[in-house]
């Protein structure tokens, strides 16, 4: 509007002005510098660019007024704080900002590899998924594999090499080490000991052997609480060598578990769960499914899945194994113990196993003594299982020793004064986990030079002179073997966050070959036989995540001679109280104690969080007079003193229906004293009761009430939940299913008819012609393992809230696994698991009650939460009959410097999935059907101008599920997997009579009881 004639600037005169200037040499513009009259006028005039009103004609005036009015509204627009995003100046190869990359690697659990694929956003790993090609994973994960990501960013990890708790350096450590080793050269290392966990890593084993070659008198010991000592001893006893036992559950029609939780605790459990449930899937026309018998003390996931479950004390199992062997005509000698426990039950089970030769299998638990394992080998041989449902391979461990004995030898040497330098590698934390009678901590003090290599500054680190922080598996190169021997290269995704060294780097330093981890691995695998062109082989192996054809060789092993003569004298069961030690289902031997995801993860059967307890049956609690006879639930939370000999421990009681009578189970792993802020001071430490003689169970327990109460937290209100008269998780038998595949019974309400409504509105999500998302959850194959819960937490940035907040009923999990007890027998009820995410109701009760439309429906049928619209009235949650909505009562996300758990929030922020909003305080959240994954798939599909294909969108829970119990997809596509699942006759809707029309439906659990055993 203003005609402003630009004068060409005279640069020379400007420069000269600038030279001659005194005072502050700031200038606003070139015009000012030029000192033009024009500029002076410009400065003097307050509104230089306005046209005077007199210059305007009527039209211009109206135009101005109109536009001013229109623009006035814009002043309401807020200017949001601006952050700068800087693009890569030099883009790393393959990285496209905003597009995650996935790398194959492997995680070791108890020393055994599980192949995983890890998602990385601009170099920041955020999510772990199973590797579909890896035999131990088949694409699935368990809760630990998911939660390992949290450990990577755990702010409480050790961050520096320390010498007697004072920060030091790698060089100082090397200097101190070489000094310590120098003194040993003369004695060829007689004073040197290595203590590792289970080692399956070929490279680490080679490095250790190299070290032992250099110091031939040095010794290598192994200790890991989770080590399957009894399995090795049993194999040695029966077959003459510690073969590795691999089960082929896919070929088993009848399985008997003798105190074994093969779905959860074995190195191959993720794979086993898939194989086993594949034999149980029920679809239209299914007439046969496999059958599982479980005899166990503590109710486990395996017991919950079993068609017949028999509670028995751990010490009774041996006698049961004997009688089963006898029942099959195996010679077990004349002094074999007999059991009085349910003879018809056992006889019927044996008959059933025997009727399926080559298709039946008996699985002994790792806690059972070697004799039980030996007997089971004999039984399996008799059943024709060997080579079919169970195969023996060469040991996977580099050195298959029995760990308790190995640790015992080490301590004996220390006591004898033979040990001058001890290197503890790998975070097994023996000061916390070693059997109580070893007095490990006291003994350790006698060693002059002690080095601990672990990821946390834990109880053992505190006792050692040097602590060298270990790397997380995503930070360093390594390798490991899976349960069947398949080797994987563990490739890192990120530089170590803190000063830390991998075990390989530490060993390389001890061997005086200080190479980077990458070189160590490559050198090692060049020797181990990277076939053909090594680089090609290396790339391909890294890409696929495992080494082709590296599975351990099958070996033929048979019972050597007369087993009866070799079986040790059975320990009589005794009639007193028995204590069982088990690894905690979420904390393991205690190593996961500082992982907030696992602390807040409800234990599979008890649903306890942030604590452990002395678990016992209602009958035992009544007998111990911990509660009135008619109210066993009142015993939960009572403090008792457990005494085993002169060892004592105070612990709260948890009453669990189905637990074996006269038996108490305690989980080790809690009661940590030296770990991060999350792990310390939660729960009770049963290790002091656990001796090398009886590491897994022991008689002679005394329980005396102390009269105190303790707040045990279970996410299930009261400990025993029945469904009342509500058939929420439906269970039928296969017989019923064959007779009447529809679940409805005469008096049962069917889905209500479509009522005509006064307020008919266009049914947009029904009439929608695009994708209609839906989910099917198969209760038949859900084993209740919690993998989906942690996977969802990792995918959707779900915060942990801490014990106090959980005690107020504010846990945040978007998917929960409900556990119901069924049946009239309090001492042996059936257990049913039911995962409950948001149902995505077509007529969602949450939507009409939201006053601000913060929860709405998408055309594709998603019930959406608009976080930044939510004001937090919580009415939606009140009105949700499934109670799947979660509210941020406080600021749970890592927004501030310190989070709700007191941890430094900065590293944990790196954990977040950048595609999912981090919710602030005061807003509601819930399962979104992983809408970010749907949208990612949609973008890909749109680029190719096609529809989203079935299986292209996989929700986090579906992807993690070891048993493929969760199926997600488009129900508008009649051929999609989810549509096929929903067409099953035993598909049903949760709370159908409310007419909410959920998009998530369930398939009933179909049990396969033996008609010869009465169930009630």
């Amino acid at each position: 509007m203003h005609d402003h004639d630009e004068q060409p600037h005279n640069l020379d005169s400007m420069r000269s002005k600038l030279q001659g200037k005194d005072g502050a040499q700031y200038w606003r513009s070139l015009e000012e510098l030029a000192g033009t009259d024009e500029f002076q006028r410009f400065v003097d005039d307050e509104f230089p660019h306005r046209a005077t009103l007199l210059e305007l004609d009527r039209r211009q005036f109206l135009t101005l007024m109109g536009s001013s009015l229109a623009l006035a509204g814009l002043t309401g627009c807020r200017i949001l704080p601006q952050d700068k995003i800087v693009p890569y100046v030099k883009a790393p190869e393959e990285v496209i900002a905003g597009k995650p990359l996935t790398y194959a690697t492997a995680i070791s659990l108890g020393g055994y590899a599980h192949g995983v694929l890890v998602e990385s956003h601009e170099g920041r790993p955020t999510k772990i998924e199973g590797n579909p090609g890896h035999p131990a994973s088949l694409g699935a994960t368990n809760a630990f594999m998911q939660a390992a990501m949290h450990t990577l960013y755990d702010p409480d990890r050790a961050r520096a090499i320390t010498n007697v708790a004072v920060a030091s350096t790698w060089d100082d450590f090397l200097a101190a080490t070489s000094k310590a080793l120098e003194g040993q050269t003369a004695s060829k290392g007689a004073g040197i000991r290595l203590l590792t966990e289970t080692v399956t890593s070929p490279t680490l084993a080679a490095q250790i052997r190299e070290f032992l070659t250099k110091y031939p008198n040095a010794e290598w010991h192994q200790y890991d609480t989770s080590s399957a000592d009894n399995v090795k001893a049993g194999a040695r006893l029966a077959l003459g060598s510690p073969v590795n036992v691999v089960y082929k559950f896919d070929k088993a029609a009848r399985v008997l578990s003798l105190d074994s939780d093969f779905l959860m605790t074995m190195p191959g459990s993720v794979r086993y769960a898939r194989d086993f449930t594949n034999g149980r899937r029920v679809r239209k026309g299914t007439r046969e499914i496999n059958r599982l018998y479980a005899i166990e003390s503590m109710p486990t996931l395996t017991g919950a899945l079993a068609d017949h479950r028999l509670p028995a004390k751990s010490s009774d199992i041996e006698a049961i194994a004997y009688s089963i062997a006898q029942g099959l005509g195996i010679d077990v000698g004349s002094s074999a113990p007999t059991t009085k426990l349910a003879p018809p039950w056992i006889a019927a089970a044996v008959k059933d196993l025997n009727a399926h030769p080559g298709e039946s299998l008996v699985v002994p638990g790792e806690q059972q003594p070697p004799s039980v394992h030996a007997l089971c080998h004999a039984i399996n041989e008799k059943l024709g299982a060997v080579g079919k449902t169970v195969v023996y391979t060469e040991p996977v461990e580099a050195e298959a020793v029995e760990h308790v004995a190995s640790l015992n030898d080490l301590l004996a040497d220390i006591h004898a004064g033979h040990v001058q330098a001890l290197f503890i590698l790998g975070g097994s934390n023996p000061a916390f986990t070693a059997p109580a009678d070893f007095a490990f901590a006291d003994t350790l003090r006698r060693v002059r030079f002690k080095v601990y290599h672990g990821i946390y500054a834990d109880e053992t680190a505190a006792l050692c002179d040097w602590h060298v922080p270990d790397t997380h598996f995503l930070e360093a190169w390594s390798d490991a073997r899976a349960f069947d021997g398949t080797a994987s290269i563990v490739q890192p995704l990120i530089e170590p966050l803190y000063v830390s060294k991998s075990a390989h780097e530490v060993m390389a330093a001890l061997n005086d070959k200080p190479l980077p981890g990458y070189d160590i691995l490559r050198e090692s695998w060049k020797a181990l036989g990277g076939a053909g062109d090594f680089d090609t082989w290396w790339r391909k192996t890294l890409y696929q995540g495992f080494v082709d054809g590296s599975a351990a060789k099958e070996v033929q092993a048979t019972i050597q001679g007369s087993l009866a003569s070799r079986l040790p004298q059975p320990v009589s069961a005794g009639s007193g109280l028995e204590i069982n030690f088990r690894l905690d289902p979420t904390l393991g031997d205690g190593r996961w104690a500082n992982n907030a995801w696992l602390q807040e993860l409800p234990k599979p059967v008890t649903k306890l969080v942030w604590d452990n307890a002395a678990i016992m049956s209602p009958a035992t609690a009544t007998e111990l007079k911990l509660c009135p006879a008619d109210r066993p639930d009142q015993a939960t939370g009572s403090m008792v003193e457990l005494s085993l000999g002169n060892r004592k421990l105070k612990m709260p009681v948890y009453i669990l229906p189905g637990h074996a009578a006269n038996s108490v189970t305690v989980h080790v792993g809690y009661g940590r004293t030296k770990t991060g802020l999350v792990g310390a001071d939660h729960g009770f430490n049963p290790y002091p009761l656990r001796t090398s003689a009886a590491p897994w169970f022991s008689g002679g327990l005394k329980v005396s009430p102390t009269g105190e109460k303790y707040d045990l937290l279970s996410t299930h209100y009261h400990n025993s939940i029945e469904m009342l008269d509500r058939e929420l998780a439906r269970v039928r038998t296969i017989e019923d299913f064959i007779k009447n595949p529809k679940l409805t019974e005469p008096d049962e309400e069917e889905n209500p008819p479509e009522y005509d409504t006064l307020f008919r509105e266009p049914d947009t999500y029904r009439d929608w012609e695009g994708a209609k998302w839906g989910m099917s959850i198969d209760l038949q194959t859900c084993i209740g393992c919690n993998a989906c819960v942690v996977a969802c937490q990792a995918e959707n940035n779900i915060p942990t809230v801490g014990k106090d907040q959980v005690s107020r009923g504010r846990e945040m999990h978007w998917i929960r696994i409900d556990r119901y007890f069924k049946g009239k027998d309090l001492e042996n009820p059936q257990v049913v698991f039911q995962p409950v995410p948001c149902m995505h109701c077509e007529r969602a009760p949450c939507e009409p009650v939201c006053p601000v439309a913060a929860t709405t429906h998408s055309h594709e049928g998603l019930n959406q939460m608009v976080y930044n619209r939510c004001v937090g009235t919580r009415y939606c949650s009140n009105n949700c009959p499934y109670k799947v909505r979660r509210f941020n009562f406080l600021n749970y996300a890592n927004h501030h410097d310190v989070n709700e758990l007191g941890q430094e929030a900065a590293p944990l922020k790196l954990l977040n999935n950048p595609n999912v909003t981090v919710r602030s305080r005061g807003v509601m959240e819930k399962c979104s059907y992983c809408v970010q994954r749907i949208n990612a798939a949609r973008i890909e599909a749109k680029k190719d101008r096609r529809n989203i294909k079935d299986g292209e969108v996989v929700t986090a829970c579906e992807q993690a599920c070891p048993t493929q119990a969760i199926i997600f997809g488009d129900i508008a596509d009649a051929n999609s997997r989810v549509s096929k699942a929903k067409r099953q006759d035993h598909d049903y809707t949760l709370l159908a009579d409310l007419n909410t029309r959920p998009r998530t439906t369930y398939m009933a659990k179909i049990r396969n009881p033996n008609p010869e055993i009465s169930t009630e």
Partner: protein
Amino acid sequence: MQNHGAEKFIGGKQTFESITTKIESVVIDQRKKHPLEWYVVFGIAFGLLQVLMLAVTYLIVRGTGIWGINIPVGWGFAIINFVWWIGIGHAGTLISAILLLMRQQWRNSINRFAEAMTLFAVMCAGIFPLIHTGRPWVAYWLMPIGPNILGMWPQFRSPLVWDVFAVTTYITVSALFWFVGLIPDFGTMRDRAKPKWLKYLFGTLAMGWRGSNQHWFRYESAYLILAGLSTPLVLSVHTIVSFDFAISIVPGWHTTIFPPYFVAGAIYAGFAMVLLLAIPIRAWYGLKDLITMKHIDWMAKFMLGTGMVVFYGYLTEAFYGYYSGNKYEMFMIHNRMTGPYAPLYWSLIVCNGLTPQILWSQRMRHSIPVVFAVSVIVSIGMWLERFIIVVTSLHRDFMPSAWGMYTPTIWDWATFLGTIGLFTFLMFLFVRFVPMINIFEMKDLLHKQEGHAISGRKEHVVVEAASAHE
């Protein structure tokens, strides 16, 4: 309502002069010594008000997590208190509007008082829906501020939005009604005030009131219109509040009986509160001649009547719970009676159902301690009723796996007691700074009682004369 009844509504030997003096002197003569009780109660109330400020500040800093609410019990004390306070307000509106339309002149001595109570109770109530939201700073999104400013409307299907309309309408109409009713009395105060600033103050509030015929005519029309507007509010506000529950699908909430049952309960609680306030104040300020035993007797009868409606509601709820045959409803009723909150349920039955039955006896209705005690019990009972409705319905609904318990925290109590402090604080200020009894309506009543009654408008001439006489 004719003379034979009216004679008991003003006690002693009263003249227009004495009535005016009795009421206005409390306000005009601020140097007059106030009863010690006023200072004590006011002091406590002021203290509680500070507690409220502290509790709300901490709430805004930390979040609603400082309360005992959780999943499944998403609503706790905040909503209980909201409904309780809103209910208390209803008696005021009923007394001033419905009884006016029904020409129940006995209301004249308590209506001002009851209206103030309404206003303050609604203020207390209004705090809760605001602060109970997770993000109170955006709670204004519930207002229909419209797409021009907020980009979208609220979601009109939600009863919480209806609530916003109901409560804002209610407080607006109540405030107007109260103020319009005060105008003639402000005129009197202006005329009687001695200090100049007080004259100006009351003069401003009197809005030029001179007591002319025209003024009286307009006043009467305006007051009647406002009474007409208020009358449906007595029914609608608590009906809509009850929709907050009834619209849902939660067993124990999803009930068609809620609107009438809530309205009756509101009036019930309101009368209890009027009595709770009137009984001490009439004693402290020597107003026993104006708020007579007859008033107390009648209000007690009102309590008895509405209490019976409420009790009938409880019985019906229980009966239909079982009669429905719906397993969730049956369980809900069973759980209320035998579950973890059963002691509270049975206390509720005792407080609201059985206790008022004592008021059948005239002797009891005439005993001030008994009526006061019953009022306290009913107030507690009505609070318990809301607790039972909100908490016991939510804590065990459809899926046993998601059941929980609700335990209030110290901050829940602080906020609740704080609003009681706010309410008492405001009420006591009102007593000192505003004529607490309607002066001109009392004169009108006196006029009728003294037997000079002539029907129709001419009364006002007399009253006006009386007013002018000052």
